[in-house]
């Protein structure tokens, strides 16, 4: 029941990372240590003493891009890890961690997997060995595997109940194709039904090796003691083979516009994304682009929100975003509106987007956007868990703190002239890709004006684009 612009978590946050490109004057990343154990395991330690909590994240460089024909394999492997260890059954694990208020989690995205724990610092000695076992010697019990598989298959169906939960999957398919960054992290009903415990074990054995992993510890601890603890927990972990991670090849621009219409029988509104190729995380212009995108669609007074929400009353919120991965990325405008005003909203979104080239930015708006991204930066790195996520992304997406520490400088150096160059170089202008989820019967004829329309049904397995 509120205004939409800090609602990043609700609307379209399905991109794997939350770290947005914003910094504050003079902000530098808090001091941390980074070193490697003899077995190649990378360690990050950052002390933060404000509250007696510790956040540990263990990052394994294996993501959905390794799945190939076994969609969901990497994700489902990560999810199976927390179902017990060689020493503890699932019930014992759940009970022991719940009793001390510790949260254990595992997740995976396109490029890496994360397993972690958040707990009171006094419980380190109890939680850390359990976390180690979850990663190195998970139980992989048949009964728990089957139960989770059944739940996950249902969950894949349930996600389709909500257009905003799945629209990015369709869009990534249009932009990146079926492999690489078009892979679907959680898999589809057909592929997940075929996964076996043996395949999960094999995937785990292959990718979960110390030289392919980082342990990130942030919070209330003494580094000297923590180092000893990590040494005793992880130094016996051995590598057994060399890994050859899949190299993602950059996609080329689409040769034509595609309009994917996803029919949802009981829809009362249309949810849509319009966009195309974006940029990689290592792109040197990323900071400047984030300032421009703030003006276009990443704050309440942004052009898109101002036109579609404030002026026209067509939607609760409209925005735009870059989603960046280590080698490539996408850009999209997104919003939703009642079925009857679908075309009106899409036209207005496109017209507003075109202002980037037709009118460009002005000095006053640019200054405001710079102040905004700088002012909103420090709360993003306030807690141990936020700082741990930042380090997770630095390791997983291979960038360093230069990005953080030079942020202010980069924001300040963006001029109108430079913004014009960036707009023409990076924002996709032609052959745009469209995904619309809504009541096909009522909108299919009208949306044909944007390009060739393919219609699929939201209840169909997976994310077919034709």
């Amino acid at each position: 029941m509120m205004r939409i612009f800090n609602l990043k978590t609700v609307w379209l946050c399905l991109v794997s990372t939350i770290f947005t490109s914003q910094a504050f004057a003079a902000y530098t990343l808090p001091e941390y240590q980074k070193y490697t154990l003899d077995n190649g395991l990378t360690i990050y330690l950052m002390e933060q003493k404000e509250v007696p909590l510790i956040d540990i994240s263990v990052v394994i460089k294996a993501g959905a891009i390794e799945d190939k024909s076994q969609a969901g394999l990497n994700y489902f492997t990560a999810k199976n890890l927390t179902l017990g260890t060689k020493l503890l059954t699932k019930t014992e694990l759940d009970q022991s961690m719940d009793f001390i208020g510790a949260n254990i989690f595992s997740s995976a995205n396109l490029e890496f997997s994360t397993v972690g724990a958040s707990f009171a610092s006094k419980d380190s000695e109890q939680v850390m060995p359990v976390l180690r076992d979850i990663i190195i010697s998970p139980r992989f019990a048949d009964t728990e595997f089957t139960k989770l598989q059944t739940r996950h298959l249902l969950n894949l169906e349930q996600r389709k109940e909500s257009p905003s939960s799945v629209i990015n999957n369709y869009f990534n398919r249009l932009v990146f194709g079926e492999q690489g960054y078009g892979s679907v992290i959680a898999g589809n009903r057909q592929s997940v039904a075929k996964l076996t415990l043996a395949q999960i074990q094999q995937h785990h054995h292959k990718w979960y090796q110390p030289s392919n992993t980082a342990v990130i510890v942030v919070g209330d601890f003494d580094s000297k003691i923590m180092k000893q603890r990590l040494q005793s927990l992880f130094s016996n972990w051995k590598n057994h083979s060399k890994l050859a991670p899949t190299q993602v090849t950059k996609t080329t621009k689409k040769p034509k516009t595609n309009v994917l219409l996803v029919n949802k029988e009981d829809a009362t509104e249309s949810t849509f994304l319009i966009g195309g190729k974006g940029i990689s995380r290592s792109n040197a212009d990323r900071v400047g682009l984030s300032v421009i995108n703030t003006i276009l669609g990443a704050r309440f007074t942004s052009w898109l929100n101002d036109e579609l929400r404030v002026n026209a009353g067509l939607t609760y919120g409209a925005r735009s975003r870059f989603s960046s991965y280590s080698q490539d990325g996408s850009f999209a405008i997104s919003t939703f509106t009642k079925t009857k005003t679908t075309i009106e909203a899409m036209d207005l979104a496109l017209k507003t987007y075109a202002r980037l080239w037709e009118k460009g930015l002005d000095e006053k708006t640019l200054a405001s956007a710079k102040a905004y991204v700088k002012g909103q930066f420090p709360p993003k790195f306030e807690t141990s868990s936020q700082l741990a996520s930042l380090l997770v992304n630095m390791y997983g997406y291979q960038f360093d703190e230069t990005y953080i520490n030079t942020f202010e400088e980069q924001v300040n150096s963006l001029t109108l002239a430079k913004s014009k160059q960036l707009i023409s170089k990076y924002f996709p202008q032609d052959n745009l890709q469209f995904v619309v989820i809504g009541k096909a019967e009522e909108i299919k004829d009208q949306i044909a004006k944007y390009g060739e329309v393919s219609i699929v049904n939201i209840k169909d397995t997976g994310f077919k684009t034709e």
């Binding site: 800090n6 719940d98 009793f99 257009p163 405001s368 306030e382």
Partner: protein, 446 residues
């Protein structure tokens, strides 16, 4: 900020063992302006930022048929122009100063938040004072905002099964008290309320004596006092708003509602039991019971229904803070090929087990342990601190109760938990809602 859903699941967690407290009662300073506005300040220079929370004692409980949803709509209108800062200028000025904002409305409160670099604090005071004292509501803004709120309502129903069933359950559980309608209001009221309704609402409820302000961050008490004197003190107090005197009559038998939504995969169940207001003595026992039932994978319902019996795919309990007596929710989504009836039976079986046999010392201790760790998680940010302190002031009548909550939780005994389960979680006191893709009919219907 949070969406409605995350707000629902946001547990206001409490300090159990004061010895660990990062923030103590003495860290919070408070003063009251002559016009009745109470202001609390927490100095915290961990980041060069601050926030300002304004809690207004107005929510859907202050509405009546014909203007349902007006509190929430008003939340939107507060951003649409005042005297010094006209239409759009509130957000433009704030963002140009490096600040951002959001707001939320509940059954009880309307809460506005500004997050800003600490050096922009005076701009925040100016913006807030202008819209409190001199909001300018125009017909044009009213109409475009109606479209926004209509979209907000429909996107909630489109994307969330929970919202679809929640409005039906509330509507049936309450027949007298305003908690019966959804906070966002009925579609026909959103379409029809008038400019006069809005003007009256602002005058009545957006008076300084109806607000509590919390400021946390890299600020100094004296600086806040001076700014409050300058910008907020001149705003005149208003007569006390009308008291909400309606008491929901006792429910004397189970009520049932059913809603159909074609895209639902497996049936959703929501059960709601009438329970007392937050300031009632049973609050703490009910809160602990809620956690014993559903917080964590080892909780009773998760362990039994999701893991062991595999009857549910997800579930939660929800016991919101509330000014008037409200509801204790138990909700679940069925596993594949499980009927609503099977799921309902399994839920009730677990609830009845608590009534008959109580809970264990180990379960009680587990909840107390978690509340301590969650307290730290909430207090790790200046935002969490401000929201927690303000919520305590509003719901418990005094922010200081945040710091004595540990004693209250520690007093709760196993017998208390069994007693509250028995008193409130009984058939005659519940409303059961089912959401399913199937039509509500079968061959045996008349």
């Amino acid at each position: 900020m949070k969406s409605l859903l995350t707000m629902l699941f946001m547990v206001l967690s409490l300090l159990i063992n004061q010895a660990y407290a990062a923030t103590t009662v003495d860290d919070v300073k408070s003063f009251t302006l002559e016009n009745g506005m109470k202001i609390m300040v927490l100095e915290d220079d961990s980041i060069p930022n601050a926030n300002m929370y304004l809690f207004w004692k107005v929510g859907s409980r202050n509405e009546y048929p014909g203007i349902t949803g007006l509190s929430h709509f008003f939340e939107h209108m507060m951003f649409n122009g005042a005297k010094k800062y006209g239409p759009k200028m509130f957000d433009r000025t704030m963002e140009a100063a490096g600040g951002s904002n959001n707001a939320y409305t509940t059954e009880n409160l309307t809460v506005y938040t500004d997050w800003f670099p600490a050096n922009a604090i005076e701009t925040m005071f100016e913006l807030e004072a202008d819209r409190i004292a001199n909001l300018a509501i125009t017909k044009k803004m009213l109409n475009s905002e109606r479209g926004v709120v209509t979209s907000e309502r429909s996107t909630g129903l489109e994307n969330s099964n929970f919202r679809s069933i929640w409005q039906e359950v509330k509507g049936s559980a309450f027949r007298a008290h305003p908690y019966g309608w959804p906070v966002i209001g009925h579609a026909s009221d959103i379409a029809n309320w008038s400019l006069d309704d809005l003007k009256q609402y602002h005058k009545t409820y957006y008076a300084p004596n109806n607000a509590v302000v919390v400021i946390a961050g890299d600020v100094k008490l004296e600086q806040v006092k001076a700014l409050a004197q300058k910008h907020f003190a001149p705003i005149p107090a208003q007569p006390e708003p009308r008291k909400v005197h309606t008491v929901e009559p006792e429910q004397k038998g189970e009520r049932r509602v059913y809603a159909q939504k074609k895209s639902v995969t497996t049936p959703n169940i929501m059960m709601a039991y009438h329970v007392p207001a937050t300031q009632h003595d049973d609050h703490y026992a009910l809160d602990i019971l809620s956690d014993i039932l559903s917080t964590g994978k080892s909780s009773r319902l998760q362990q039994s229904l999701i893991n062991d019996q595999q009857i549910a795919s997800s579930l939660f309990t929800y016991f919101p803070n509330s000014i008037d007596p409200n509801l204790f929710y138990v909700s679940a989504v069925a596993a594949k090929n499980v009927s609503a009836e099977q799921l309902e039976k399994a839920l009730i079986f677990e609830v009845n087990k608590v009534i008959k046999r109580g809970v264990t010392e180990h379960e009680l201790q587990k909840v107390k342990n978690r509340k301590l760790v969650d307290f730290y998680r909430n207090m790790a940010t200046i935002n969490g601190k401000a929201n927690t302190i303000g919520s305590y002031e509003m719901y418990f009548g005094d922010y200081q109760k945040l710091f004595t909550a540990p004693e209250q939780y520690n007093k709760v005994t196993l017998a208390d938990i069994q007693r509250v389960a028995k008193t409130y979680l009984k058939k005659s006191n519940r409303t059961v809602g089912i959401l399913s893709s199937e039509e509500d009919s079968n061959d045996a219907d008349l």
